[in-house]
Every structure is written in C-alpha cells, then in structure tokens.
C-alpha cells in the first residue's frame, strides 16, 4: 500500500488488504539492504491469522522514496512517525537483522508503542567488516552477492526451498537490486555504528521471542544468545539455517511467532 508520508511516496505491505480498525498489528522491520520481500512468506500468513500487518519499505528501499535514514536512531524515529501517521498506537514488532537493532532502540525509547518483540536472526550489535562496507560502496552488486551467499546455509547452495521452483540465492540478489544502489552501504554503516543495543535490551520488561539461526554468518548465533541473556524474559529457538531465516525456514518461523503471539493475548 502506498501513502504520502513526510512528502515522499512510501510503501508498506499490508498483504494487499486494508488495515482493520480493531485488529492487533504486527510490524515487520526489514534488515540491511532488504525490503518488505524479506517477509513474503510471513506477511499474508499473519493477515490470514487475523492480524493487521504492516511491513514498511524504509526510504530508498523497495518501493519507498525519500532520503535514506542513516542511523538506527533515525530508522526508529521514522518508523514510529509512520505508525503514528497510520494511527497505529501499539504493535508487536518483528525485526530481522538490522531490523532487530531498530526495534531494540524502539523498545527503550518508545516503549508505549510496543506490545511484543520478536528478534529474528538478531543481536544487540552488528559490527560489519570494512571489506563488506567498502564493497557495498564500490560495487554494490558484488556486496549483495556476498551477503546473500554468506547469509544462507546449504539451502542457498543447493537451491533448496519449500517454495516450489525458487532459487533463493538469485532471489536474494534480485530483492536487493530493487533498492537504490546507495542503500546498502548506508545501512551497513548504521549497523556498524550502533552501540546502544545492550543498554536498550536491558530496559525491556516484556516477554520477548528470539528466533536465531545456527549457521548465521551475518549476526552469529553467539551474539544472538548474548542478547537473550541480557533481555529479562526472552524465550528463544535456534533453527538449522542461515541468516535469511524468514526465507529459509518460513513455516518454522511462522509457527514460533504464532505461538508467541498467543502468549500475548
């Protein structure tokens, strides 16, 4: 769905349906260099489960225009302003990768918006090596390829997919190519410079869920588990896949989120 927000055309996926006034809202927050297609197999599933879903494309990503936000703090502010603009008072936030940093920051600074939190392949900090940042500046398409290859386990290597006929390595690249070419480097720098994650995690007072990937090369499992330790009540599950968990293990992720949402009722 398109809207005009802060003078720019902004897209947020709702699974193609209008938001229903009294339904609970789930907000999916994408990661670095991604857009709402990270959550293709979550968005419409949860709409059918009776939720309002919004999965925004951050500025410059996917179908959204406008100047890109260049820090996690800015990402968070853009997101809460968008929610306010859409008259969404409270939501359960599901972040993937960089999206986890955004929702950590949100949990600390704007807790009034938060009903629940799900961290998917996340951590409290995401340091990015210089090589990837430099490549994302000099040769973005090469950086997409590196990320997609690092980001998927065997499923990617062998084009294994529960989704008949899909080749996730190529698809991951195609999704990243939909963004402005300057987007990835800015996102990676935002991740790299964010250092409030531990503090933010320590302030969370609600029951959370972390779904982590055993073979995650982008946000290693170890770092995800450190986050689980710091958050007071954080249930967690480890799935046998790589960083692009929503694509590699969609059914397992959906079932875990669904179970978690039931605990919030």
């Amino acid at each position: 769905m398109y809207t005009n927000f802060k003078g720019n055309k902004v897209y947020f996926s709702t699974g193609g349906l209008n938001l229903v006034k009294d339904n609970e809202t789930l907000c999916f927050v994408h990661g670095a260099g991604q857009n709402h297609y990270s959550f293709t197999q979550q968005i419409r599933y949860f709409v059918s489960q009776g939720y309002n879903v919004i999965a925004p494309d951050f500025p410059g990503h996917g179908f959204s225009e406008g100047n890109q936000t260049i820090s996690i703090e800015e990402d968070m502010l853009w997101l809460v302003e968008l929610l306010a603009f859409l008259k969404i008072e409270k939501a359960t936030f599901i972040g993937h990768s960089q999206g986890c940093l955004t929702i950590l920051e949100l949990a600390e600074k704007k807790p009034e918006f938060v009903r629940g939190l799900v961290f998917v392949a996340g951590a409290m900090s995401i340091p990015v090596n210089d090589f990837l940042i430099d490549t994302s500046i000099d040769n973005p398409e090469k950086a997409y390829d590196l990320m997609v290859t690092w980001g998927q386990d065997n499923y990617g290597s062998f084009s294994i997919s529960d989704w008949p006929g899909h080749n996730h390595l190529a698809e991951g690249n195609a999704v990243m190519k939909m963004n402005d070419s300057s987007v990835l480097s800015k996102d990676l720098k935002s991740c790299n410079s964010y250092n409030n994650g531990k503090q933010a995690a320590s302030t969370i007072n609600i029951n959370c869920l972390a779904v982590l990937a055993k073979f995650d090369m982008m946000t290693p499992l170890k770092k995800g588990l450190q986050m689980v330790e710091i958050i007071k009540q954080c249930d967690y599950k480890i799935l046998e896949c790589g960083h692009f968990l929503p694509i590699e293990k969609p059914k397992e992720l959906n079932a875990l989120i669904k179970k978690y949402l039931n605990t919030l009722k």
Partner: protein, 434 residues
Amino acid sequence: MSEKYRFDTMSLHSGHVPDKETGSRAVPIYQTTSYVFKDTDEAAALYNMEVGGHLYTRISNPTIATLEQRLASLDGGVSCIACSSGMAAMHLVVSAICSSGDHIVASNKMYGANINLLQHTMTRFGIETDFVNPNNLEEIEKSIKPNTKLVFGEVIGNPGLDVMNVPEVAKICKKKNVPLAIDATFNTPYLMKPISHGANIVIHSLTKWIGGHGIAIGGALVNGGNFDWGNKEKFPTISGSHFALNGISFWEEFGPSALTAKIRAEGMYNFGPSLSPNNAFYILQGIETLSLRMKKHIENTKMMLKFLKENESVSWLRHPDLEDHPDHKIAKKILPLGSGSIIVFGIKGGRDAGKAFIENVKLSSHLANVGDAKTLLIHPGSTTHSHLSSEAMKMSGLTDDMIRLSVGLEDIEDIKIDFEKGFKAAAKISSNKC
C-alpha cells in the same frame, strides 16, 4: 554460509539433498496427485499462496520442484516452472503477460509451432504479433508499440540457425520497458544463459538436449526476476488486482518472483499443463550429464562440419560456428563454447536426392526431434513441408534440398560412414538428373 557451486556441481545437486527420512541419494519420484494437510491452517495458507508447499500436483510436486530449482540455478533465474512441453511453457508465458488488445514483437526465424501459436492462435484471442528479423535492431525497436507487452526470440533459431543478438535486443527492451523472453532450447544453459545477457524470461523445451535422451516431453520457463512489472496500466494482471490472489497484486506480494507466482496461480491452476513426476525424474537424470553431453555434442558437431564441408554431395552448409554464417560474430561473442549441435545443409540433386539420402542412412534416425543423444535427421522437403512448392519453401526460409541434422553422441567415424551411404544414394539420383 552457502557455497557458490559451479555448473557441473549444480547440474548434479541443485534442488535436492539426500532425503532426511530415507537417506535416498537419488531424487525420489513423488508419484502422487495430492498432499495431506497438517491442519486446516496449513491448508488455507497453501491455497492462498501465503507460504510455500505442495497442494496438488497440477500446481506443484516435490520431484518437479527439484527439476525447477535445478533449472533456475543453472540459468541464474530466481524461479522456474516446469510444465508438460516446451510449447506449454511458451503458452504459459504469453498468456500470463498478454491479454486481448496487446501486441508482441517476435523473431520471424523461429520454430514453426512458436510462429503458429503467435500468428494464428493468439490472434484469435486478440493478441497480435509483428514478426521481425531477429538481428535487425532498428526494426525491433521500431516495432515496439505502446501496447507491446513482450519481445520474443530464439537464441539459435530452429531450423535456420540465425543467432539473436540477445544483449543488444535486451538493451532495447529495457529502454522500452518490455520484457524479453528467449527460447533457449538449442543452446541450453551450458552454452549460454540468456538472463546473464539481460533477458527476463527463458523458455526451454526440456524434450531436447536438457532431457537429452528422447524419452520425455517437457518444458520450463525460468524467471530472471529482473523485470519491473510495477506499471499497473501496462501489466494490469501482474501488478494490479488479480482474482487468483483474492484481488491483490502479484507484483506487490511477490516482487522478483511475481511472474512465476502468477503463472502457478493462474496458468498451472486453470490451464493445467503439468509435467508428470516420472518425466521430471527422467529429465533430471538427463541434466546430471548435461555438460558432458553438450561437450561431446559440440565436439562431434565440429567434426561433422569438417566432414560435410569436404563432401562433394553437399551443396551448402550452415552453422553459426562457420565463418561464412551471417551471425558468426554474434555467435562467437554470446556462444563461446559452441553454437549447438544442429547443422543444416543442402544436398546436391534437390528434393529427390534429399529423400534418397534420408532413406539410405541406417544409424541416423529420421524423425521429428532434435537434441537426442542419438543422431537425428529430417528432410523438411519430404516431410514437414512436403506440401509446399520449392518457391513456397523459400518464402519460409527453407529449401527443398535442405537436411536438418542433430548431431548425436555416437562415435564420429560411425556417423560419417552412415552418411557416406546416404550420400552415395543421393548422388545416384543427382547424376540421373544430369
């Protein structure tokens, strides 16, 4: 981290890892029509295409999905749909993109059924096609109209062996925001991957070299995921609201894989051109040796070209790897490993000599197929085009002395000996004529 495997490895492994429950190393044949749902929730999710999975074999099947995923990875596409034949794949693509009132620009040097579908069948449904010389870039660009929704051609045309300058045509299509679909049957992804040259959709007849053994009819379309379908006025059934998704948009929900999502939900669902799981298995077996076979096909083709060039009974010889072929330069650029294993040549003595040649070869089979492991021949003048006069054949780019040879994998010396027998018989006719 995933490994980036190379072509030969992907041809053996993509789309399948040993079965977790049984350990089966080979791809199992899931000979089933349908799949038990875990619960009503899962059933609804599958019906609505909310998550991946199998519902009914007309739409998808695990053995067929392995084939699709293997082809997508070999061609560098984001997604693939395998179906009952190459023609079914072609029809799925055309019907997914075009509606009544739309226009197609297509090569005039294509396989007869591709031409027939566009020239005679689609016109009945209000879809018009302008046929153009596949290498006249100016003509292609000029022929694209505001209602043009597809540009279509073959990398190596059947049977004329014209080579389309895919990278240049792709540039025009990109500029005009029209998807480029390429029939890559004669090259297979081993010789050339159209998506890496800017094409948006690849169509294969799997019946030919990909299956490779003349045992199963099949087809596939591979989606490059590199076309922006976002213009709702131009592509309303992909980016606008669609009945098959309860009124929502394939483009907004599926992005790079919108085209295949639509084809599965509409084409496979409503037309039903599904492949059988058994045929998918046979074709997968073929793919396992695709590169080995293609190497030998090319090697034998080179030797046959030399043999035919030196043979007195041959009046003319056509193959894109020959320097006198009009598209030789393009072929060298986009088909560096070789331009396939079809050779066309003329036989001295015209239609009757051609007939005599065909009737006197023993090892080479006279039949209507190409891309088998075995050497195949056809003489259009006495078969597919026998009802046409010499003049009428010329109009369709053929001559009555023309033989189409699909070079097989036999020992080259045996193929040559077989041909000598045919040539001897043809020469008798030819000398009687003189």
